[in-house]
Every structure is written in C-alpha cells, then in structure tokens.
Symmetry: C2
Subunit: 353 residues, 2 copies
C-alpha cells in the first residue's frame, strides 16, 4: 500500500528538535519523494526552517501547537495537561485520519500514554509494546517490549509474541519466524511465574506461531530466534546493555589496533570491510521503535537522535504503513480467536434445552 | 588472613567434571602452593585422577560422596534428596568448620538452596545474591544479583547494595565505591515500585554507602558506577546479553580484518596488543560468582568451565577468604544497625516511667 496520507511529525520532541526532525524529513524526502509531512509545533520557529528547502516546503504542511511536552514530564500529567502540545496534536492527526502515522522523539512515557488514550489498542491487544529491531549474527532480530510495560502478565507476553510474529512476517518478510521467550535458563522450571505461564500458553499450540521456547540473554544477539519476547523492564535493560557492550568492545579493539603502527596501516586498507561489517551495528540505523499494538502507527525516535537517525525512524513508520502491519496483526488475532472458538464449541454445555 | 583451612570442591559438579575441577585445582596450587583441597565425589573416579599429580595429591584429600546433583534437578528436590551428594557434602564441610570455602560448577539453583539451608545467611541479610565481576571501560564492576532472586523487594535490593559495597571495598580495595541501581531511566519517576522504593531508601542517607542513583543498561559496561544492583532476573539477562554482544562484535571485527589481506598482515603485528586489550573480556577470567550474604563462602563456577576457568572460581574463593569479606559485611551491617538505632532513640516514648 503506498502512502496515501502524510506522516505527522512531532517537530518539538527530542533533544535536537526541531532541527533534527526537519533535516530528518528532508533526508527521507530525497529517498522517497512521494512522502508528505505535517509538522506539529511552534509555527514561528519551524516554518522558516522548513522554508529553507524548497522541496521539503512543497511536501510539507505546518500546524501550530502552542506547548511542548517536557522530557521529564510524568505521562499522566502530559496526558492531562498536554492537550495543546505538538505531541498530542500529531497523534490526534492519526486518529482523525489526517495522517497515516506519527513519529516523535519526545518523552517515551508521555507518547505511549497519549497514543494509547487517543488511538486505543488493536482489538485483542491489552497493552501496546515498544518494539525494536536489533542486529544479530545473521539477520535482524525483533525485540519487544523495550520499556512500555515494566511488569507483564503471562497474557501480555503471549500477545507480544503474536504481535512480534505478525511484525516479523509483515515488515521483515519472514515466512515462519521463530519466537523466543527471554528467561534466565532454558529448562521449563526456570523463571518467575509469569514467564513460566506464558511458556505453557505458547507451547499449547493454540497460537499459530513457531514457538521456539525459552531463550537467554546471549541468544538475543546470537539470533537463536527471530523474535525475542520479554517484559519492558528486562527488555529495556537488555537492549541498552547490548549497546553498551558493543560500543566498549568496538572502541577497545579500535584503540588497540591504532596503537600498533603496522596494524594501523593494515587497518587503513581493511577499513572499508570493517566499516561495512560494523555498519550493521550503527545505532542510528536502528533508530525507530514501534509502539506496536496501537490502532494507528506510532514510532518513537531516540530522544538524542540526529537527522540521519531521525530519518530512520520515519522510514520505520513508512515501512509499517506500506506493509500493513496492523491489518496483519488484526487478521492473525482474528484467526486465533476463531480457532479458539472452534475448539471451545464442542465442550460448551447448552444452558437451556 | 591466610588460608588456614582447605577449600572444599564439589568434584562432580559441572559439564566437564571431574577433570576440569581437578586440573583447575592443580593450576591454583601452582600459583598458591599453600592452598589445600578436599575433593567431594565418587572416590574411585577422582582419586586416580588426583594421584597423577604428586603435588596435588599431597595438597588434597578425597571424601567419597555417592550421588551427584543433576544439572536439571529442581532445587527443592536436590535439597531434599541430595543429602549424600558431592555438592551437599562439600557445603557441609564449610558449616562443620572443615573447609574455609566451597566451590561448585553444579546446578546453580540447587547450590543456592542447599548452601542457604546449610550455611544460613549473615545476620541482617534476608537473601543471598549471586555476585559477579565484569570488565568495564576502566575497571571491573561488581554486579548483583545475577540470578538467585528472580523477584526482589526494595529491602532485598538495599541489602544487595550494602553487600556490594562491602565486597568492592574488601576484595577490590575501593575506598568509596559508587553504587548504582539498575533501572529503565535515570529520573526518579522511572521504574516499577520496588526499584523506586529502594531508590528512596538508598537516598535517605541511612546507609553508609556512596549511592549514585539509577543507572541504565549501557552504564554497566561504561563503568558509571563501581557496583550495579538489580534483581536476579534482570541481572542474569543483562550479564548474558553483554557476553553475547561482546562475542558478536569481536568476531565480526575479527572476520572483517581477516578478509582483508593487508589488515591481516597488520593484525599479525598488532595481535599482542589486541590480545592484551581483549584479555580483560575473556569470560574465563571472570568465572566464579559469589553467593554473597551466606554465613560461609560459596562460589559458583560456570557449568561449562574448563580447567583455566575453574581455577579462576577457586581464586575468587581464596580472595573472599583472605579479604575477610563476610566479616566486613557483618561489620557494615552492624554499623547501619547502630546508626539506625541512634536516630530512633530520640523519638522513642518511654512506656513505663
């Protein structure tokens, strides 16, 4: 499905807003000239910046929003008091059918709370999950939840598994993605109650997914499964730990090589290959976490995103729209619902005869 | 304090037991010739292996134990039925004052449950925590809990902070270790109830530690704090994720360099420097997690440990004994108890006059 509607951008969200948002949109426009944008934010500030690029100005609309949600605002406060904020206005645009997706680099908690309130969840989904894609040994791995739900019931985890499956199929084109549940060991007895219960449910065969079983921390980047499901507390920490570890090892090796003159010479020649190999791990290429499970497409960019990084978040939104991910999640959940009903029917006892 | 008693070794625990245990002990003996060992396990199997090294045989005793705790045994079952196991016998030796520490590469859950039952916890400690040391940008970082307590109250987390502080001071010689509490963000409002409550308690000034505040996943290997406190579920996954990420980046870079001929030549010359730099990240050098908070020293080796790796776990036990870590934790907890009482006194109302 081509983009028939513009993308709503919270022009004021993020540490480098509005510059990074506007330059990010400009980058996307070069690659996808058919894209249209609506920028929400302080018109006197953003309009002149957009006007600097004629092509961007032609593809864009600016809608004034008086306030900005602060990065340290409590989600409940942002929801109550942020009605005239750029974030709220951009989300409203999706609900009102004026935009096909919303992208924001603002306060994550506020974005999730507001988007959930305005857009509601997909039928069959209780809680949306922040979904990220990380590089692994062979191919990218889908990780959810990355921080929306710090505590999760078994049901939430199962819903995340179904959403992750639909996402991997729709956006990443995988035929039968393997789904893993993150735990402290692979044996059935391991883990806390919620994770053990979710394991039993996923193993029951009631869900049309390829459930692999428990996976451990080291399996994430090993790519043991295509999707890794966990609660938002653990997922957030695992993701950031992996980022920190990657950076440390990379920098340690680089400085060890640079201290050796001959290795340095060799490194100069190997640099293209090394850069190519490391490109997969560039966090900017991974920017753009989806608030999956909402009845509307919302993408969260990292707060510190630069233009290149922000552009990637917009591209994630485009890919969500073009691949009709939400439609596919609805279809998959409906199928599970039907299958469940089908198995329930024979054991129902008529109450009246 | 020099080692006045032998170290009890569960000779049958671990995937490569008893060979890795015996060869590990032999390596330690070369470095610390004054060390003595008691090997617990199937005497007909282990005695001949020990006899191969005259020096090890002279430094060792073998005590027969009929059974072995299986790696997938439930902790409760191991505790109930494992009374004649090598693991239980080795732990008993510490309780009976025959050994100064016990090392096992066996079933973690069984080791924790049995050690807790036999040795009990230190006064003031409710739950022991699995404590590991990981490399960071500048110096090693103490991490706890790595998997003993999958769900933690705020009180447990606070006790872990105090134990981590004592450990960093005693074993790592830090004067005023900075303590961080792992969370999904650094703002006070972030996190689930337990972590927020622990944060308030640690900030109260009632604990004589340098509390830094919340840290995030990327702070662990960045070395933002000297000690990182978290629950066992998150800690286990963070540790294994960091291991996986380090391995992936290292191998990706290495193969990119090896594909380039010139870089390969340079690499040959840089190899000593690279090896030196990477040595810090060798997981074998990090083997040996302490069951901190027990009234006795128990060290868990990785189940798949080889001799070199196992030797490191024994050295961790030696360092625990020599640095009198438990004595220091007791002293620190007693001091906190006194301080607490001191602040309580003025507001107590005499019941009888």
């Amino acid at each position: 499905m081509p983009l028939s509607l513009p993308i709503a951008l919270d022009a004021m969200g993020g540490d480098k807003a509005p510059e990074a948002v506007i330059q990010g949109a400009r980058r996307v426009l070069k690659e996808f000239p058919q894209t249209r944008f609506i920028f929400y934010g302080r018109e006197p500030v953003i309009a002149p910046l957009i006007a600097r690029s004629r092509s961007l100005a032609r593809a864009s609309q600016v809608v004034h929003a008086e306030t900005v949600v602060a990065m340290d605002e409590k989600p409940s406060v942002a929801l109550r008091k942020g009605r005239d904020s750029s974030m709220r206005a951009a989300i409203d645009a999706v609900a009102d059918g004026k935009a096909c997706a919303i992208v924001s680099a603002g306060n994550t908690g506020a974005l999730m709370a507001t988007a959930k309130f305005v857009l509601r969840t997909l039928p069959g989904i209780d809680r949306p999950a922040i979904t990220a894609t990380v590089p692994s040994r062979h191919r990218p791995v889908v990780l959810l939840d990355m921080g929306a739900n710090l505590e999760c019931t078994a049901e939430y985890l199962v819903q995340f598994a179904v959403m992750g499956d639909a996402y991997a199929r729709a956006v990443m084109g995988m035929a039968a993605p393997k789904i893993g549940l993150l735990n402290v060991g692979s044996e059935d007895m391991k883990g806390h109650e919620e994770v053990k219960e979710a394991h039993q449910m996923l193993r029951s065969g009631n869900y049309p997914i390829e459930y692999h079983g428990f996976v451990e921390g080291n399996d994430i980047l090993e790519g043991t499964t295509d999707v890794v499901v966990t609660d938002g507390f653990t997922g957030n920490i695992a993701l950031k730990t992996a980022e920190g570890a990657s950076r440390l090892i990379y920098e340690t090796l680089k400085s060890a090589i640079e201290r050796s003159f001959l290795a340095k010479i060799g490194y100069l020649f190997a640099r293209p290959a090394i850069r190519m190999a490391m490109k997969r791990f560039d966090p900017r290429k991974l920017n753009g976490a989806i608030l999956l499970g909402l009845n509307g497409i919302a993408v969260k960019s990292h707060g510190g995103a630069d233009a290149k990084s922000y552009a990637n978040a917009i591209k994630v939104a485009i890919s969500m729209v073009e691949n009709q991910v939400n439609e596919k999640i609805i279809a998959e959940l409906a199928r599970i619902g039907r299958d469940k009903n089908a198995t329930v029917v024979p054991i129902t006892v008529p109450m009246v005869d």
